[in-house]
């Protein structure tokens, strides 16, 4: 026992994660769900054992390395992944094994980040390499990408598909953190007044325009409204944190609004998205079908939900990727939905705590940027499936089915924990 003193909080929290996972699996056994019964008993049991083993092993490794980083983040994200795995096992049993392999890939990426990036501050030195890489990746996707679910965001690597925007978004946050840290003072000084409205000087809005352009490229060429929204939202948050100037936010939002308006008039797929958002009931059996099915799932779940395995979330098309939150909310009700949202709030809270405690401006910006990225992405998809925002096909971090998303989420977790371990 003495050997395991460092991460005691994490260990005690882990009891609940494992309990949660197995209770979820147990619920599925009780449910006599048709799709699940077909898979038999063996697979879920094996599945539960492997996942429990993987999660515990990561904790033990962190303990063994005497890693002094945050003790709350990993149990929280594990909780989310456990919920995601149970839901995927329930929704698409055939995908569950693949998802657990992705989880292991994510955990490996997480451990690698924590272990190999002992001095994360060195990330600051290669900022132009990042932006270059990001642009190459995006360009490659546009040129060689394959389309899935209406968005052209994947590169086919033969054995698996890889969603470039998932890795690009991390690279971008690292780039922005180093760029903004370097230019912080200049950016803060350089504002003028234009008819009483503070406007950043022309020479300082260059990066703003680059980010704007990048988002529009995503929007136009990849038809990926969600990722564009996440990129730009994260960017605005980071520039505000580094400068404290609302003028950047105002100007940036204006630019984004302008771009979005132009796209609305030039591209029919954007118009369709907006029309569905405003009134999906008008085309209930056609374009509005998916979001309406999601609303039905949420409403039918009510306060306490139907119980895991007892609802009918399979009525929603693509439920295991974009709509896993709707499925979860149908079967666990408002209570379960709020629980998940609160877990995200805790993660975000810890993320900003790490940012506040960081020793360098770069560390603080990086932590805040990663946290904001996570928050914006969660808000965009949760808002999307509840029709609070236009629906965009982004994943729910740590929960949705999807390898690229899971791996990138765990890399972000690794970075956050690395920053928290400094000093």
């Amino acid at each position: 026992m003495m050997a395991y003193g460092i991460r005691e909080n994490e260990r005690s929290l882990f009891i609940y994660v494992i309990l949660f996972l197995w209770l979820g699996l147990l619920g599925l056994f009780g449910a006599e769900n048709g799709t699940f019964a077909a898979a038999g008993f063996k697979q879920p049991l094996l599945f539960g054992a492997i996942v429990s083993f993987g999660l515990i092993a990561v904790h033990l490794l962190l303990e063994k390395w005497r890693f002094r980083g945050d003790q709350f983040l990993f149990p929280l994200t594990s909780m989310l992944s456990a919920a995601g795995l149970v839901m995927i096992l329930r929704l698409e049993p055939d995908y569950a094994m693949r998802q657990s392999i992705w989880l292991f890939a994510g955990l490996a990426a997480f451990l690698a980040t924590v272990r190999l990036l002992q001095n994360y501050k060195r990330l600051e030195d290669y900022k132009y390499i990042y932006i270059f890489t990001a642009l190459i990746l995006l360009l490659a996707t546009i040129l060689f990408g394959v389309e899935a679910g209406g968005a052209r965001s994947w590169i086919d690597l033969g054995i698996a598909r890889f969603q470039t925007s998932e890795i690009v978004k991390i690279i971008l946050v690292i780039f922005l953190a180093s760029y903004l840290e370097e230019k912080r003072e200049v950016l803060t000084e350089g504002t003028r007044n234009l008819w009483g409205i503070p406007v950043p000087g022309v020479q300082y809005i260059g990066p703003l325009l680059v980010m704007w352009g990048l988002s529009l490229v995503l929007l136009i060429f990849q038809k990926d409204l969600g990722t564009a929204l996440i990129f730009f939202g994260t960017f605005l948050v980071m520039i505000y944190i580094s400068t404290g100037r609302w003028s950047y936010i105002l100007f940036g939002s204006f630019l984004f609004g302008l771009g979005a308006t132009l796209c609305y008039f030039f591209f029919s797929h954007v118009r369709v998205r907006v029309a569905i958002w405003l009134n999906p009931w008008a085309d209930m059996e056609g374009k509005g079908y998916q979001i309406i099915q999601s609303l039905f799932a949420l409403g039918s779940g009510g306060t306490y939900g139907t119980g895991i395995g007892l609802g009918q979330p399979n009525l929603i098309p693509a439920v295991h990727t974009d709509f896993v939150f709707s499925a979860w909310s149908e079967e666990t009700g408002l209570a379960g939905a709020i629980a998940i949202l609160i877990i995200y709030c805790f993660i975000i809270y810890r993320g900003f705590r790490i940012s506040l405690a960081a020793h360098t401006g770069f560390g603080a910006l990086l932590a805040a940027g990663l946290t904001s990225l996570l928050a914006v992405q969660t808000l965009v998809i949760v808002g999307g499936v509840t029709k609070l925002l236009p629906l965009t096909g982004v994943t729910l971090p740590f929960v949705s089915y999807g390898g690229s998303s899971l791996v990138s989420s765990y890399i972000m977790l690794g970075l956050l924990m690395r920053i928290s371990a400094e000093g």
Binding site: Y240, I241, L295, F296, G299, T306, Y344, A375, L388
Partner: protein, 464 residues
């Protein structure tokens, strides 16, 4: 400096999450019922196909609707077919639900066990073997059949209810439809000129003709109790604003009782005008005419013009049941029941009990007074007038040997051909067991066409 910015951003993000939580609450709590019951939400349908839907039976355990399992799927059968189709309603995957099948859908599926208001619980009951609840009606299917058969090939409606409780014993609409054949016959039923899909008893709107004189009498007696001892000199017609309303059957010196017995248009049109539009319409409202009358299934609201919109002529016409006044047969049965029950209107109802699959009573109907149009005293006077109308007036065909019957006939002129034959009444006059309203469309005189049907129903209820 940067720390402050981080706190601001964290606060904003938390606020956004809070908004999301509030919105989720709105969707999952406040819009839950609406979304769960939305016709395009297939969840309830999926559930329904797994649940053995409960029976609908009459007060004597005769089955009106039940689901019989044949092989994999269940088939809904309606043993009384078109006789009770207007009450049970129908159930079809293609056409949806209507009637009691629609109103009591949740109960019949067993999804209502005290968990209303939260849709999640409904889905939680996904217990494939468990049958739904049964609905027991106040209806008497054999009485219903008697009324249905007596209408023969005439169109019309019959309503009979218990004055003291409001329990509906008969609710016939003819022509009817067979809910078991609804899908195959839908098109022809829909375009049929006699509208068999309309539940005439509760949704049909007709001029009440002279049966309205009961309401007019109630209005004037409540206002001027001494009217009962007045005598009238009836000239055989009445002229209002240059229009002459004929009244040949009641000429000469008439007491109020004689005026009612011989259905004097002169006397009741005059009394209506004496009462004035405002008080007359208020009297009609007090019987539920022009007001919403509650019922488990779809019911139309009787229509009476606003007092301000009525000319003197229209007031005179309305007082004798013509003009723009339109009532449902159910409403006229309620008028008769109000007089029978000492001036108290009980809420009309079709459903007695909801029983669980084991037969235990889950919910039972309680009699509820909804209106008090007249005092017990005034009701007593009107009853005597109605007794006279059956004993030696137009309603003789309703009399039953050994039982005092109260009633009023009507022949309502209408633009669709001969007059509608009406009879409303109750028996026995004291401590009534049953109140009825009968309408035979374009049947002519109420005394010969409608009264015999009412008589048969009242006789059967009393003999039981």
């Amino acid at each position: 400096m940067m720390n402050r910015n981080i706190v601001v951003v964290a606060g904003l993000i938390m606020a956004a999450f809070f908004i999301n939580i509030v919105y989720m609450t709105y969707l999952q709590v406040f819009r839950s019922d609406e979304l769960l019951n939305h016709p395009r939400n297939r969840r309830l349908q999926i559930l329904e196909e797994k649940i053995l839907r409960g029976k609908i039976s009459d007060s004597r355990d005769r089955v009106l609707a039940e689901t019989i399992i044949s092989g994999e799927s269940g088939k809904r059968v309606y043993p009384y077919g078109e006789i009770t189709g207007n009450v049970t309603g129908y159930l079809s995957r293609k056409l949806g639900r209507w009637g009691l099948e629609a109103v009591y859908n949740q109960e019949l599926l067993g999804l209502d066990s005290g968990l209303a208001g939260d849709g999640s619980w409904a889905l939680n009951m996904l217990d494939t073997g468990k049958p739904g609840n049964d609905i027991v009606l106040s209806l008497d299917a054999e009485l219903q059949k008697t009324a249905y058969d007596m209408l023969g090939n005439r169109k019309g409606a019959v309503v009979a209810l218990e004055p003291g409780t409001g329990r509906i014993l008969v609710m016939v609409s003819k022509p009817g439809f067979d809910p078991g054949q609804i899908e195959s016959q839908w098109e022809s039923l829909r375009i049929h000129p006699d509208s068999p899909l309309l539940n005439r008893a509760a949704q049909g709107l007709y001029p009440p003709g002279s049966t309205m004189k009961v309401v007019t009498a109630a209005g004037i007696l409540a206002e001027q109790p001494d009217t009962v001892s007045r005598t009238f000199e009836a000239p055989g017609y009445i002229e209002v604003e240059g229009r002459r309303i004929e009244d040949r059957q009641a000429k000469g010196k008439l007491s109020l009782a004689e005026a009612m017995a011989r259905s004097s248009n002169y006397v009741f049109a005059s009394l209506g005008m004496e009462l004035g539009a405002a008080k007359f319409v208020a009297a009609a409202y007090s019987f539920g005419i022009g007001k919403e009358l509650p019922l488990e299934t779809t019911a139309a609201q009787s229509r009476i013009p606003e007092p301000g919109e009525m000319s003197e002529l229209e007031l005179a016409e309305t007082a004798i049941g013509q003009g723009r006044l339109l009532v449902t047969p159910l409403n006229m049965a309620v008028v008769a029941a109000a007089v029978a029950n000492g001036g108290k209107v009980m809420k009309p109802s079709l459903v007695d009990e909801v029983r669980g699959p084991g037969g235990g009573v889950i919910r039972s109907f309680k009699a509820e007074q909804i209106l008090t149009p007249v005092s017990a005293e005034t009701a007593g006077i009107i009853r005597e007038l109605m007794v006279a109308a059956v004993a030696n007036g137009t309603g003789r065909a309703a009399s039953i040997p050994g039982v005092q019957v109260a009633g009023k006939t009507g022949s309502a002129e209408n633009p669709h051909g001969s007059a509608h034959a009406w009879f409303i009444g109750f028996a026995p006059a004291e401590n009534s067991e049953v109140a009825v309203a009968v309408i035979v469309e374009n049947g002519g005189a109420g005394g010969t066409e409608a009264a015999p049907i009412a008589r048969e129903i009242m006789k059967k209820v009393i003999r039981q």
